[in-house]
């Protein structure tokens, strides 16, 4: 993969055939090798002071999420309260990075966060006919504008996986570019996360291609999954995406973020993700501007582990809140 990225046509998406050729010429990923590397990194033993650092860093990287048909304003407000003050017994616990909701609840989230001292916490909205991505570009754009107009500073869009599997990379590029433009056109620039839905892409080669496609089209973050299907943010998938942002930085000088969402339920899982970041993309990515974890149940497990580290004994579910 030594071809330079100076080709402007590649970068502005006008030459779909060049884009297609570029993506298919990316080096292959050997499945067994990639999974072996991820498995080796999972054996890292993170203890004592490193564990304290990892837990607090992980908490600060969480996009606390609720994406259910049954979400109500009450549910969203409870989530926001938890986002600002995850551990009511311990004010030293950091706040999370963002709350992530459907776009019609963005206004409620933003208003509530602002009223409880959570101005610094972002509101991310899933848009573009999340999770399926099956709708017209007009609907997807409106979806996005609605979110931005009601206060979303982050947009989590999905790619059209049908188009990807059918090889229509140009269509995906154009959609991402259009959504990016919508993100740029508000009062304040919203940052754009592009969800690849790696579980539907299946192969690591596809994950690599989709990662590059999203980055070339203007993603600020590439995100593994909608969280609605399994498998989602498995370690080898996140590894391949971290390799992509690392290599993109080497070629262009621009750092793109990675968000791992779906299937990260325990502190152990979260720490494995941080090790992957540390030893693949590097420590520049070890902060919420470049790495996020999309989760809901994870936060409580991190808090239980945090309590254990500070008190010395195992904690229990009664000592963390249900939102």
């Amino acid at each position: 993969m030594s071809a330079p990225l100076a080709n402007a046509a590649l970068l502005d998406g006008t030459d779909h055939r060049a884009l297609h050729r570029f993506l298919l010429a990316l080096p292959a990923v050997d499945q067994v090798g990639a999974e072996g590397r991820a498995a080796m990194l999972a054996t890292r033993s993170i203890k004592t002071s490193s564990k304290v650092y990892a837990i607090d860093t992980a908490i600060s990287m969480i996009d606390l999420t609720t994406l259910e048909g049954a979400d109500t304003p009450g549910k969203v407000r409870a989530l926001c309260a938890k986002a600002v003050r995850p551990d009511p017994t311990d004010p030293t616990a950091p706040s999370v990075a963002a709350v992530c909701v459907y776009n019609d609840l963005v206004g409620i989230a933003r208003e509530h966060l602002d009223s409880i001292g959570g101005k610094q916490i972002h509101v991310a909205a899933v848009t573009t006919a999340f999770p399926s991505g099956r709708a017209s570009i007009a609907v997807k754009l409106q979806d996005t504008r609605d979110a931005i107009n009601t206060g979303a500073s982050e947009i989590d869009m999905v790619i059209d996986r049908g188009a990807f599997l059918a090889g229509d990379y140009g269509k995906i590029f154009d959609e991402i570019a259009a959504i990016k433009e919508a993100c740029d056109s508000g009062e304040k620039r919203a940052h754009l996360k592009v969800i690849l839905e790696t579980g539907e892409l299946v192969t690591y080669d596809n994950v690599r291609r989709a990662s590059w496609l999203a980055m070339l089209a203007g993603a600020d973050f590439i995100k593994t999954s909608t969280g609605k299907i399994s498998p989602a943010a498995t370690p080898p998938v996140v590894l391949v995406m971290l390799e992509a942002v690392r290599d993109f930085y080497a070629k262009t000088g621009t750092r793109i973020g990675v968000k791992a969402a779906g299937g990260i339920r325990s502190t152990k899982d979260a720490i494995k993700q941080l090790v992957l970041v540390n030893e693949t993309a590097g420590e520049e990515w070890l902060n919420p501007t470049l790495f996020r974890i999309g989760a809901s149940a994870l936060l409580n497990d991190l808090l239980l582990q945090r309590q254990k580290l500070s008190s010395g004994h195992y904690s229990g579910p009664n000592y963390v809140t249900l939102d």
């Binding site: 030594s2 990923v29 067994v32 890292r44 993170i46 002071s49 941080l274 540390n278």
Partner: protein, 481 residues
Amino acid sequence: MSLFKYAAAPESRAIVNIASSYGLFIDGEFVDGTGTAFKTINPATEEVLSEIAEGSALDVDRAVKAARRAYSKVWSKMPAAERGKYLYRIARIMQERAREFAVLETLNNGKPIRESRDVDVPLAAAHFFYHAGWADKLEHAGVGSAPKPHGVVGQIIPWNFPLLMLSWKVAPALATGNTVVLKPAETTPLTALLFADVCRQAGLPAGVVNIVTGAGATGAALVSHPDVNKIAFTGSTKVGKAIAREIVGTEKSVTLELGGKGANIVFDDAPMDETIEGIVNGIFFNQGHVCCAGSRLLIQENVQDEVLDRLRKRMAQLRVGDPMDKNTDVGAINSAAQLGRITELSNTGDSEGAERWSAPCDLPAKGFWYAPTIFTGVTQAHRIAREEIFGPVLSVLTFRTPAEAIEKANNTPYGLSAGIWTDKGSRILWTAARLRAGVVWANTFNRFDPTSPFGGYKESGWGREGGRHGLAAYLKQGEQA
């Protein structure tokens, strides 16, 4: 890595119980040796771990006699299925005591605890498990319909994978009905001595396995003993040749697993990230103390810069240090002598004009350490391209065409291993067919399995270990009907 610098994560030593001294394990019990006792140390700290008996020629004779008695009176008379069940017991006990073995191996050898725990010990147990199942199936091994064991086998093993090499030798020997006198390496006797305790727990009949510690002289006494029917040796090519000279033309059978200078060939369409891992694994796994190490990197010239750039970045992430720390990637060099050899040979790389680059790392003050190093601008004529360094030093050469890669890879007296990195299946098969090496890894490296025969062409040795082919060395064809 200052933001997320992993805090010390030491494995506890409490699980091992190292005696202040050990005798020889002969005829089912520990007895005093009549040679001169010597110390064994932890190469990461230079701490003395224990005092080890030296087996004199007299002791070796005693052990061989015990092995012969056990063979004639017990082991050769035992139904094959029962023999197998002893090996199953041994495998199970090794699994039960896995952590104990891993810690002891790391303390005595210097290899990272992660490797002993995740590679050495599980594979060693698996070898016993696999061979246990062969004991009563030998008529299907491809050595005739009624193959017979040799009798007493003498086995000499090296210090780089002490317990694993013990299992590669002892498991097939016992499964095929032989009895054993084993000489562990001088610097790494402890896991073999712990294995003696496993034999006790398994109820293995006395004399079936005998362990005689010592150095070169003890090994020589075993090789030349008239009542040993077969010798199995893993170690340097130099010593292997001496053994061959001693034995060839006599009634004794011999298998040798010797040195190597494996070529790791990277084509321009290799899966890049996994290839870098494979290169690193190929030469820095086990501190490069691996006979089948990928110690010559052959890069297709058109991707040389990219591969080297990524390789250096990856090497800079290697964690070198306390082998008992669970996050250590590269441990200690096994001995002062070996460190001296590595240093001397690597220095010829400098003096012969190759360019040295080492991973930046803080090496501990005590113990024996060598930073992971690559030499670029190496050609076949350099000593570091021809001679086995047996340390974490990689010689990098280039090639232009597949045929040239083959020529360079084969241009060596050794023939143990080779690696092939490419995305193209037909090229893997074409290259593998032309490499004169006993083990070829494609898009992977340093993979071992009890079912997979291992051994070398040319000066890398005679015979195979593991798999159906590996059994043949321990059997002779029965009488023709």
